[in-house]
Symmetry: C2
């Protein structure tokens, strides 16, 4: 593997274990078997490295996620597709999930939060959009878009955490239950 990708992989792993601020550039280059100027040549600065990690991973993620989000009148089907896409992607990239989770919930003025907030907003907005469109068919969704979008995002993250900890096995049965759990809560309002 070339040095650029080695750095990305090493940094992703280290960041996911001890956080963006908890890992120094020196440790990244040592573990990668290179020296600082190489890292700074490819990424400009530490933040540039983080940005590259996020951009690369989220690019793949949104490809699958936005395909899954396609709504054709069946909200349960769409949610099922979304759950599948979400869980499978992060199951394949557990280190990236841990990193993105930590960044998402880090403090508002931290570098990590600033780096990830646009991506997270895009997910939330996508959920909102789905609920807005679906509310044509489901009257009870109306006026709760924002809340539903946020709670859905939170739920997915919690499930994903259990999945990558191997407490939950992702299969049709689980996905069906999870969607059911979420939907019936909404219908009940």
């Amino acid at each position: 593997m070339d040095n650029k990708n080695t750095i990305i992989n090493v940094a992703t792993k280290l960041f996911s274990q001890r956080g963006y601020e908890g890992v120094g550039v020196q440790e990244i280059v040592d573990t990668s078997g290179i020296t600082k100027p190489t890292l700074y040549h490819f990424f400009g600065n530490k933040r540039g490295l983080l940005d590259t990690i996020l951009k690369t991973n989220y690019s793949t993620f949104f490809d699958k996620f936005e395909t899954a989000s396609n709504y054709k009148g069946d909200i349960v089907l769409t949610l099922t597709q979304i759950f599948w896409a979400y869980f499978l992607f992060f199951k394949k990239n557990p280190e990236f999930f841990r990193l993105s989770l930590a960044l998402t919930y880090s403090t508002l003025q931290s570098e990590g939060y600033l780096a990830i907030t646009d991506y997270e907003q895009r997910i939330i907005k996508s959920f909102e959009q789905l609920f807005i469109i679906a509310s044509t068919n489901h009257g009870n969704l109306k006026g709760h878009h924002k809340l539903f979008a946020i709670s859905l995002s939170g739920l997915l993250n919690y499930y994903t955490l259990e999945i990558i900890n191997e407490k939950i096995v992702v299969n049709d049965d689980f996905i069906t239950k999870a969607v059911k759990h979420y939907m019936h809560g909404i219908y009940a309002l």
Copy 2:
């Protein structure tokens, strides 16, 4: 106010804005109008300061939380009490909520995570315990304790975030809806 409490208040605010690792001891003492040895006299080290902040706040929290968790055969009532206790405490302590949220979702080997994990586990265990006891009356809860406990914790944190952002007003109507949303998901399984 005495220096000890000044330090605690200043540190809580700064940590909640830029994270435990993002704030230096020097900045804390400068903002507090004192010098380093004073801080180290009271707290031993930086971690000791964080521990004190967590211990103080969670002490008050668990007082109210565990009173609210008392189950007497009515799971909806108990959940309603828990939601009220949870939301009201963190609405009163929004900075501490932001800090604890960031620590809870920080990386597994970070200092902040190690500092808060016992408290978070206590909350999860408390939820689990509730669902185990309640499963005597609600058969459909059986075997899902852990999952329900975790998803409840996640849901509460998401709601709380909206509350301290003043997107949600905490009143009887909201609490009723939130509990309903959560419960009907469970009943539907």
